[in-house]
């Protein structure tokens, strides 16, 4: 069995190499005829009669054209921008400082040592720049050079900026567009991947890491985005998979297209690998700029505060009527979120995956906050495997980067059934519980309606060190719904209807929790924004530390 798994995984890796070989393989031939002109400059730099200054100029020029005009045109034809165009859009004008423009690959096999196979800067552009004035380290893989394949030099360039990003405390953004490993380099390329993986792990929780997949990303390469905090994709032009459709066909005999297997839709709705998808390169990069504004630069930085035009004491009258009278009727948790946060601006993470929980970033009085909310509109807002994992990862990101967490609770419990139990809802549900419990950032909780059973405990309850826990008048904090409870308490007895009414009277309201101090106050929904803004100011100086440990052991 073990051998079989090994075989499969190595096959996967092999395919990573194979598919990259295809794309890389085409390039020298396809471009052979026209290349002479395009890369004349590149060839010239070995000619010794040129001065150093001239050679520098020529190499820089060659670096800026990447794989040459033809391949740039091909890249554009695919609806994709070039590595440098992307950086120009992502960063503030004239802020990009490039590193390692003169680095070349060191492969001497298969004719790779020839001058025409050397591109200054190789297949990635790296450096640092600013987004709205704030420092960021970036790498942008260049598909026009050997299909963006990863050579030892390519990896080394990425590692260099990652090391520096960690040292100075600035986020790393990777723009992925790569066919895979540089097959000509063999194990050196694999080593390069591992070097990057290691740095991804070391940087995790130190500086925010964001991956934007803007082309293929297959084989071993996928694990770098998977290790980063956020993975975004571009619709129709980006793919993420361990093995491509061909290998899938040969191994499992499934017929599947690239898009179905690893397109943006798959990963944002089915697998949960990607956190969001955007229409095209421009849309993605502009949104990424906007997203970046929410993030602190490192774990030493407090959550950023921007100028805010939305009054912090604004009342939200619509919230007083938003929770329907019948406790079985759904409403949209996003309406509550939009009403409360600054300027109705909410950057939702994974909006199409595990929709029964809503997570994302917003601001309160200008300060970034993380929002977690059960979504009654989908599956009654219950917690299941996917929503627990989605919530847990988000909560841990916020905690790692000092972003206060605001939780809106309307949860009828964990989803029952064999599918969930066999899938391990116990250990997956534990992740969300774990994440909320270990978080030491300011935690504010608002129970809008149901908070039933274990799910009540999980959702940032007072018992898990919630700093401020509010209940709306419509809140029902109880072990379970009235009907189920009465069936257990009064099993086989008559007068169930009366008992149910009594149970509702006793427990289907915020009082049992409020009299025990499990909620700090019962508040008028329309005042929620005002209260939270005030609490966040108070909690800005919150200091809480967990006991020393090498690292915690979250139930993975």
């Amino acid at each position: 069995m073990a051998t079989y798994t090994l075989m499969r995984s190595s096959l996967g890796l092999l395919h990573g190499l194979k598919c990259s070989f295809k794309s890389v393989g085409q390039i020298p031939y396809a471009g052979a005829l026209t290349r002479s002109k395009v890369l004349q400059n590149a060839r010239c730099y070995s000619v010794s009669h040129l001065s150093v200054q001239e050679r520098i100029e020529q190499k820089r020029k060659a670096a800026l054209t990447g794989g040459g005009q033809l391949r740039i045109a091909a890249q554009h034809k695919r609806g994709k921008l070039t590595a440098r165009e992307r950086l120009e859009l992502l960063l503030d004008p004239d802020s990009f400082v490039e590193y390692d423009m003169f680095v070349e690959h060191r492969c001497s096999d298969f004719g790779m040592e020839a001058d025409h196979n050397k591109y200054p800067g190789d297949s990635v552009v790296t450096g640092q720049g600013r987004i709205n004035g704030r420092l960021v380290y970036v790498f942008s893989q260049d598909f026009t050079v050997f299909g963006g394949s990863l050579s030892g030099a390519h990896a080394q360039k990425i590692c260099k900026i990652m090391d520096q990003a960690m040292m100075v405390g600035a986020p790393v953004i990777g723009l992925n567009d790569s066919g895979g490993a540089r097959i000509q380099e063999g194990v050196e390329s694999l080593a390069g991947y591992a070097d990057i993986f290691l740095r991804n792990v070391m940087a995790s929780g130190v500086v925010p890491q964001i991956s934007l997949i803007m082309g293929p990303c297959a084989g071993g390469a996928v694990y770098s985005p998977a290790l980063t905090d956020f993975t975004f994709m571009v619709k129709d032009t980006s793919y993420l998979f361990i093995t491509g459709p061909d290998v899938v066909k040969s191994v499992t005999n499934e017929d599947v297209t690239q898009e179905e297997l690893g397109g943006a839709k798959t990963h944002t709705t089915v697998s949960g690998v990607a956190h969001r998808a955007f229409e095209n390169d421009i849309d993605a990069l502009l949104n990424l700029r906007n997203f970046f504004n929410f993030l602190p630069l490192s774990n030493k930085d407090p959550a950023p505060v921007t100028e805010c035009h939305d009054p912090r004491d604004r009342l939200v009258p619509g919230l007083d009527t938003i929770v329907p009278f019948e406790s079985t009727k759904a409403y949209d948790m996003l309406d509550i979120v939009h009403g409360i946060v600054d300027e109705r601006e909410f950057f939702e993470i994974m909006p199409n995956y595990a929709k029964n929980i809503v997570v994302g970033f917003a601001r309160m009085n200008g300060r970034t906050v993380g929002i977690v909310g059960n979504q009654p509109k989908v599956a009654s807002g219950c917690l299941d495997i996917n929503s627990s994992v989605k919530g847990a990862r988000f909560v841990r990101f916020c905690d790692a980067f000092n972003i206060p967490i605001i939780t809106f609770v309307d949860v009828p419990g964990f989803l029952p059934g064999t599918a969930q139990e066999y899938g391990g809802i116990i250990r997956h549900g534990a992740k969300l519980l774990y994440a909320f419990a270990e978080a030491t950032v300011p935690k504010i909780t608002v129970i809008t309606r149901k908070a039933y059973g274990g799910a009540y405990d999980v959702m940032s309850s007072k018992h898990l060190r919630g700093d401020v826990n509010y209940a709306w008048p419509s809140a029902e904090v109880a072990v379970m719904g009235a009907k189920g409870a009465v069936q257990i308490i009064f099993r086989g007895k008559e007068n169930q209807a009366k008992a149910e009414a009594e149970y509702v009277e006793k427990f289907a309201n915020p009082f049992p929790a409020a009299v025990r101090g499990f909620v700090d106050d019962i508040i008028q929904p329309s005042t929620t924004r005002k209260r939270i803004c005030r609490d966040l100011e108070v909690l800005a100086s919150k200091k809480q530390t967990n006991p020393w440990k090498k690292h915690a052991n979250i139930p993975l």
Binding site: G79, L81, R134, K235, E279, D281, G318, D320, F325
Partner: protein
């Protein structure tokens, strides 16, 4: 400031009632409660379960739930309302308009319980409620009437026969009808048959009475109505006219008082006929006599509404009377305090009915949703808003989609219209589609401004349907400049920590397929935007959180609203009532966008989508049937209007999905 806007009532009141129950919902219930409060009368609201947190319920002293959401089970549920009256000990009931307001059974049952019905006596309701009978009485009272068939039409074939005798065009309408429901115009035999079917169904569902009548249809008429007020002692007054010609599907959209069309003689003639009709049926309370007026100022009696009209506020504005106050006094048996000579025409009042509907689809198909943001323009003087909703309210399929009645007043018509422009621009409605774009266009249209209107106004002015405001070159520049300045203001805010802010921006703004290169320079909050060689100066506070965007463009004050602003540069602005989608990109992003792949939108012509939410009342096809383009597939009922859904192309019906209540088709 005009008195009507505060709804004045004398400071001290003669004793009327201690407690009044309002058998209605929405804005009219709130309207009645307001006057009751001023008169020191306790109020009882009734409501359906979905309305339990509605504004009228909150405003009233007491509230009683009378049943589930469908009107037939709540607001039309006489038993439940009678119980509510008994339970709360209300001495009188104000029915508002619609629902039970013209239901003689209800009035009778109240009388039997010794409860006062605030409205006319049952015999007047009966006489005027039946279009056939009312026409006969009107004829007898020497009121001008329309030629037509004075009887009930039995079936579609008889309808065709009668129509032939009167001569096309004819109007088929419900005998018990009102408010445009159960009404169809027909130009040939085929339409007569179809119209007969629709009208009788609508009449049955709306009024529980499917009797229809037919009369000559007066082409291109104005719809002008006279407000009358009569007491129980044989005194009656006419309170001038209301011009209600701007209609879509026989429902009024914009009303004004007085009318630009009437001269004092015609006005008096109409007023006197209205009063003589009221006297003929021993009418008491407020009532409205509707007339059709042709281009020669010939007027014909249409019907009498034995209730408070939706558009009563404009009469209040120009006469200074509070009609609800008068109705309550009259119901208690007091005599009218005014004489005909006391009734003035002071200034001009305009009412726009703000509806939750999409004006781009047949001038308004109902839409539903939650009012995520809602702000009435009450900060402006001489503006009155009668509404029964607030931020967070739901507009549901169960009830009328009216959001509010926006009334503006001025010494002159011009002043009132100017105020209406401003009020519409300052009205913030988010979450539901609304008809402000259409209202904003109507009130500035040269034909409307000159008073050249008829009930055909909308189809004549917009023969291909309403398409929103058409921008002039200057307006286009203003809009582009505003979008660019707003974009820069937002960009600058996210760079607040940068010391030296950029002062020059090169932007590319896209507006309905037109692409413009703009240069923007900034000094403080003032932006200079250069568009195609023209300079536009835009300044404002640039509050990015506010729904309203008041700015000054080239010295002119404008109220815009920002409906959407995304990270990818999409900006949607409401400008002159209509919302415009723009995209602002940096020069670089705009240059690179030529490489972006084009996305093909989903082909939906083989899917039948209901243009509005509602319930399916009839399905005419089966799975496997072949349908031709234009063939009726099903009938949707929403907000009490029946709409036939037709196939968009020749095709075969594929799946037989169950269509149930509330399904979106």
């Amino acid at each position: 400031q005009n008195k009507c806007l505060n709804r004045p009532v004398p400071f001290s009141f003669p004793q009327t009632f201690d407690k009044i129950l309002i058998a209605n919902r929405g804005e009219i219930a709130c309207r009645v409660i307001k006057t009751c409060k001023k008169m020191g009368i306790k109020t009882v609201a009734v409501h359906s379960d979905v309305d339990s947190s509605a504004v009228h319920v909150k405003m009233a002293d007491e509230a009683v739930c009378v049943g589930p959401a469908p009107t037939s089970k709540s607001y039309l549920n006489m038993d439940a309302i009678m119980n509510a009256v008994k339970q709360t000990g209300a001495q009188a009931v104000h029915p508002g308009y619609g629902f039970l307001s013209e239901n003689k059974e209800f009035a009778k049952r109240l009388a039997a319980e010794g409860v006062t019905f605030i409205g006319p006596d049952t015999h007047a309701i009966q006489a005027m409620g039946d279009k056939i009978e009312s026409k006969l009485i009107a004829k007898a009272a020497k009121v001008n009437t329309i030629p037509g068939f004075d009887g009930v039409v039995k079936d579609a074939e008889e309808a065709v026969k009668i129509a032939g005798e009167i001569g096309y065009p004819v109007m088929i309408k419900a005998s018990a009808g009102g408010g445009g429901k159960g009404m169809r115009i027909s130009w040939n035999d085929e339409e007569t048959r179809e119209g007969f079917r629709f009208s009788s169904q609508e009449a049955a569902s709306s009024f529980g009475d499917d009797r229809l009548l037919i009369e000559k249809f007066i082409d291109n008429p104005r719809h002008i109505e006279i407000q009358v007020l009569a007491d129980k002692h044989g005194n009656a007054l006419w309170l001038n006219e209301r011009e209600c010609s701007i209609q879509r599907r026989n429902q009024k959209v914009v009303e004004e008082a007085p009318s630009t069309f009437l001269d004092p003689d015609t006005r008096r003639a109409m007023g006197e006929q209205a009063v003589s009709l009221a006297k003929a049926v021993k009418y008491s309370s407020a009532g409205t006599v509707e007339f059709l007026v042709d281009s020669q100022k010939n007027f014909y009696f249409l019907e009498m509404n034995t209730r408070l009209q939706v558009e009563h506020p404009i009469t209040e504005c120009i006469t200074g009377l509070d009609l609800v106050h008068q109705m309550i006094r009259i119901a208690k048996g007091y005599k009218l305090q005014q004489k005909q000579s006391d009734i003035p025409i002071n200034g001009w009042a305009i009412e726009s009915r703000v509806y939750a509907e999409d004006p781009y689809k047949s001038f308004g198909l109902p839409s539903i949703g939650r009012l995520s943001q809602y702000q009435e323009p009450l900060n402006l003087p001489n503006v009155r808003v009668d509404s029964g909703i607030q931020e967070g309210s739901d507009i549901s399929i169960y009830y009328d989609p009216m959001i509010s009645k926006l009334v503006t007043y001025g010494k002159t018509r011009e002043e009132a219209l100017k105020k209406m422009e401003e009020a519409l621009d300052n009205y913030v409605i988010r979450g539901v589609t609304h008809n402000i774009p259409l209202l904003r266009e109507i009130i500035v249209h040269p034909r409307f401004v000159s008073g050249d209107i008829s009930t055909k106004f909308l189809p004549e002015v917009y023969p291909d349907g309403f398409k929103g405001h058409m921008l002039t070159a200057g307006e286009r520049r203003e809009l582009l400049a505003t979008a660019a300045a707003l974009y820069v203001a937002a960009q600058l805010r996210s760079q607040k920590f940068l010391g030296d802010l950029s002062r020059q921006w090169e932007l590319c703004v896209e507006l309905d397929k037109g692409v413009h290169m703009l240069g923007v320079s900034r000094a403080g909050n003032n932006y200079t935007v250069e568009i195609d060689g023209e300079k536009v100066e835009v300044s404002g506070e640039w509050n990015l959180a506010s729904a309203l965007l008041p700015i000054t463009i080239n010295g002119k004050h404008r109220n815009l609203q920002c409906l959407l602003r995304t990270a990818a540069g999409e900006i949607t602005l409401q400008y002159l009532g209509t919302s415009f989608k723009l995209r602002v990109l940096s020069k670089l992003a705009a240059y690179l966008s030529k490489h972006m792949p084009e996305k093909i939108p989903e082909d939906t012509s083989s899917i039948l989508r209901s243009p509005m939410p509602g319930s399916v009342v009839a399905v005419s096809v089966k799975p496997g049937d072949n349908v031709a383009e234009g063939q009726e597939i099903c009938v949707i009922e929403a907000m009490k209007m029946q709409n036939s859904m037709t196939a968009a192309k020749t095709a075969k019906v594929n799946s037989g999905q169950d269509i149930s209540y509330l399904d979106l088709v």
